[in-house]
């Protein structure tokens, strides 16, 4: 039923700002653990285990969490670089979960990804012009647009056309990330997945790229799925935020609500752990220092996955998995049996 024809139709329809562009329903991505001579499966890493969210055209959803929480696996699964175990991925109203490679091709024109490491994600043997123009060649648009489009793209991201003749090693980290952004924009996509796009960059360069991403979003009505571990960057760029822990969403909501009044103990602990660049906040903030490490995703705790590190945990938490529901009627769901509204004193002013 889902022929290449419908896939092309999906790709060509341009959405209005606010229309739903991406919906992920109960997504699960598990990886087998194999061992022994016969490579028999001895376990599963439940990297993503039942995640649902939606994203509107022109909007930014920030996915935040620590290493191993599954945020990058979501990026790869949504791009269909990794196959989901269960659940649905709906792009512009079309279920792309079972799409073949050929069917995905036109969809990928509309959906691009930018990776963290600008040093390993660019082919060192290709000139910048070839790197940025590659998507145009792959999709058969080089002849009509070609050089002019590459020059335009380089200009959009703040590089000059002369840079096209050079190779990736001649550029600094920030400039390489600009090249990655130019390539992602080549096919005029509506959704860009950004997987830790500024984590490898120095502070002064990070701000340049963050500003560039915000400007491009306004200019081209882009929707961003912005994945990062840096809570400050996520707050700055996102409209809505989802906090992940061990393959599940712990809390989600408007960026303001989630940061100002988190209700999940993990979100509260995470926010309180970020050192603030203000010496006056020292000692005034109530810091929640969590005990222990994140459990292994191949053998997650029963019930609530956070309970092994949670100071509120009771028997109920081990028995019953808390649902991600709006417990206070303010459109800001959290997956905790004992969710509590707690205004966060994240600034020195708030703590005073």
């Amino acid at each position: 039923m889902n022929g290449v024809g419908t896939a092309e139709a999906v790709a060509n329809a341009r959405l209005q700002r606010g229309d739903e562009i991406l919906r992920v329903e109960d997504l699960k991505t598990h990886f087998p653990i194999r061992s022994g001579l016969l490579r028999r499966q001895v376990g599963t890493v439940q990297a993503v285990d039942g995640v649902s969210f939606s994203l509107a055209a022109g909007e930014t959803l920030g996915l935040v969490g620590e290493s191993g929480c599954g945020k990058s696996t979501i990026a790869r699964t949504v791009m269909r670089l990794t196959d989901p175990t269960d659940g649905r991925i709906i792009f512009k109203g079309e279920d792309i979960t079972g799409y073949s490679r050929a069917e995905m091709r036109p969809v990928r024109q509309q959906m691009q990804i930018i990776f963290q490491d600008p040093y390993s994600s660019l082919n060192p043997r290709m000139s910048v012009e070839d790197i940025v123009g590659e998507p145009l060649r792959v999709h058969g648009m080089w002849r009509e647009q070609g050089h002019a489009r590459v020059a335009e793209l380089l200009d959009i991201v703040g590089l000059s056309p002369e840079h096209g003749k050079r190779y990736p090693h001649e550029f600094s980290g920030g400039q390489r990330q600009r090249i990655g952004v130019a390539r992602a924009l080549a096919l005029n996509p509506q959704l860009i997945i950004l997987d830790e796009p500024v984590s490898a960059l120095d502070v002064s360069i990070q701000a340049q790229i963050v500003n560039l991403l915000k400007r491009l979003q306004d200019e081209f009505d882009l929707a961003y799925l912005f994945i990062a571990h840096d809570l400050s960057v996520v707050r700055h760029i996102s409209d809505r935020v989802a906090v992940m822990y061990l393959g599940k969403i712990a809390e989600t909501g408007d960026h303001h609500d989630t940061y100002e009044s988190p209700t999940h103990p993990y979100t509260q602990a995470l926010l309180s752990a970020v050192p603030l660049p203000d010496p006056d906040a020292r000692g005034l903030r109530q810091r929640i220092v969590l005990e222990g490490d994140v459990p292994s995703p191949s053998n997650p705790p029963s019930g609530c996955r956070f309970r092994t590190r949670c100071w509120k945990a009771e028997d109920l938490c081990a028995r019953e998995e808390p649902e991600l529901i709006d417990r206070f009627g303010h459109g800001h769901p959290s997956a905790c049996h004992f969710a509590e509204e707690q205004p966060q004193s994240i600034g020195a002013d708030g703590a005073r």
Binding site: V203, Q208, E291, G347
Partner: protein
């Protein structure tokens, strides 16, 4: 000894590396001192020379290609740079200990963690017998918050998680109660909740050993939280130094201000971030005069920035800035604040 006597004094340190592309001037004329019991933060971006300057103190840079071109490092009336490698080895771990970013590469993978901690003590104390060393090592693991220290004592580094390994490194670093503790990006490889744990441990360990600490990091948040004084580095040089509150609230170097202003905030959301334009300087052919001049808004086409390296001018008390135009900083901060619509003058006192 009077209380105001510095414990460690770095004076005019310059470090160079020979590379096929030319001589990399990684550290140029860097001076600072460390007072007993204090925490001195050294902050800068990659290539600012913050790590190299501190590694050179203990001659931990590879020579060649590295070379200490000039300078003195005074510790207890001795110049560390004139000591032999053997003499330095006796100092390392006993008088000056280090904690590095990556504990996996600083721990021996084929020896148990406990044995390594015990050995860190017995090399400096010939009279220490195995049983006492073991007992003390288990105590140390407990101090740094490793659960079941007697079990962990017998385990190998790969059986430890990243946060636990860093705790073990800290246990080893404080084993001999050294007066100076050097921590080079100790939590950069860790997640934020684990970072919070390790920083607590580091603070407690410092207190336990009564040590002064040099904390090297790119994270302004960590500096604000941990340091008493801060040294800001750019392009291999010190550009600003002072009490942490003064430097954060009244930065008097355009780079320090630019760096702080460009950080996204956790407590508010702004429309756009004030940025520092351009790229970090080349260390092989650094800009003439002030290394920051090609990216600086205060330069305003003035020749002095290009011609003369600004010395560290006294701003007030112990606050110094290497800028020719310190008196225009307030105006600059006001200008940038107006542009982004956020008040960036944080403190007035």
């Amino acid at each position: 000894m009077s209380v105001t006597e510095p414990l460690l004094e770095v004076d005019g340190l310059s470090v160079e590396f020979d590379t096929p592309e030319g001589v990399v001037k990684a550290v140029r004329d860097v001076s600072w001192n460390l007072m007993p019991g204090e925490t001195l933060g050294i902050v800068g971006e990659s290539g600012s020379g913050k790590s190299v300057s501190v590694m050179s103190l203990m001659k931990l840079i590879p020579t060649p290609p590295g070379r200490i071109a000039a300078g003195e490092v005074r510790f207890r009336d001795r110049d560390l740079l004139k000591l032999s490698r053997f003499q330095l080895r006796r100092l390392r771990g006993k008088d000056i200990s280090m904690v590095f970013q990556d504990p996996m590469s600083s721990l021996n993978p084929v020896q148990t963690v406990g044995r390594q901690i015990a050995e860190a003590m017995s090399v400096h104390d010939a009279k220490l017998n195995d049983r006492d060393a073991r007992k003390r090592a288990i105590e140390l693991l407990e101090v740094v918050g490793v659960p079941q220290p007697d079990v962990r004592f017998k385990q190998y580094p790969h059986q430890f998680s990243g946060g636990m390994r860093q705790r073990a490194m800290i246990a080893m670093a404080i084993a001999n109660q050294p007066p100076v503790l050097i921590a080079d990006e100790p939590t950069t490889a860790l997640d934020v909740t684990i970072q919070a744990q390790v920083m607590e441990v580091l603070k407690d360990a410092q207190k336990e050993a009564g040590a002064a600490m040099v904390l090297i990091t790119h994270d302004l948040g960590l500096i604000a939280e941990m340091a008493d004084r801060v040294v800001v580095m750019y392009g291999g040089r010190v550009v600003e130094v002072g009490d942490v509150r003064t430097v954060f609230h009244q930065p008097r170097h355009p780079y320090t201000f630019g760096l702080m202003a460009s950080l996204p905030r956790l407590d508010t959301q702004t429309e756009s971030l004030p940025t520092i334009p351009g790229q970090p300087p080349s260390l092989i052919t650094p800009p003439s005069g002030c290394a920051f001049h090609p990216r600086c808004r205060l330069k305003r086409d003035r020749a002095d920035c290009e011609e003369h390296v600004p010395p560290l001018h006294k701003v007030s008390g112990e606050h110094f800035s290497a800028c020719h135009h310190i008196d225009e900083m307030e105006q600059l901060i006001a200008e940038v604040s107006a542009e982004v619509g956020t008040d960036l003058t944080r403190g007035d006192t």
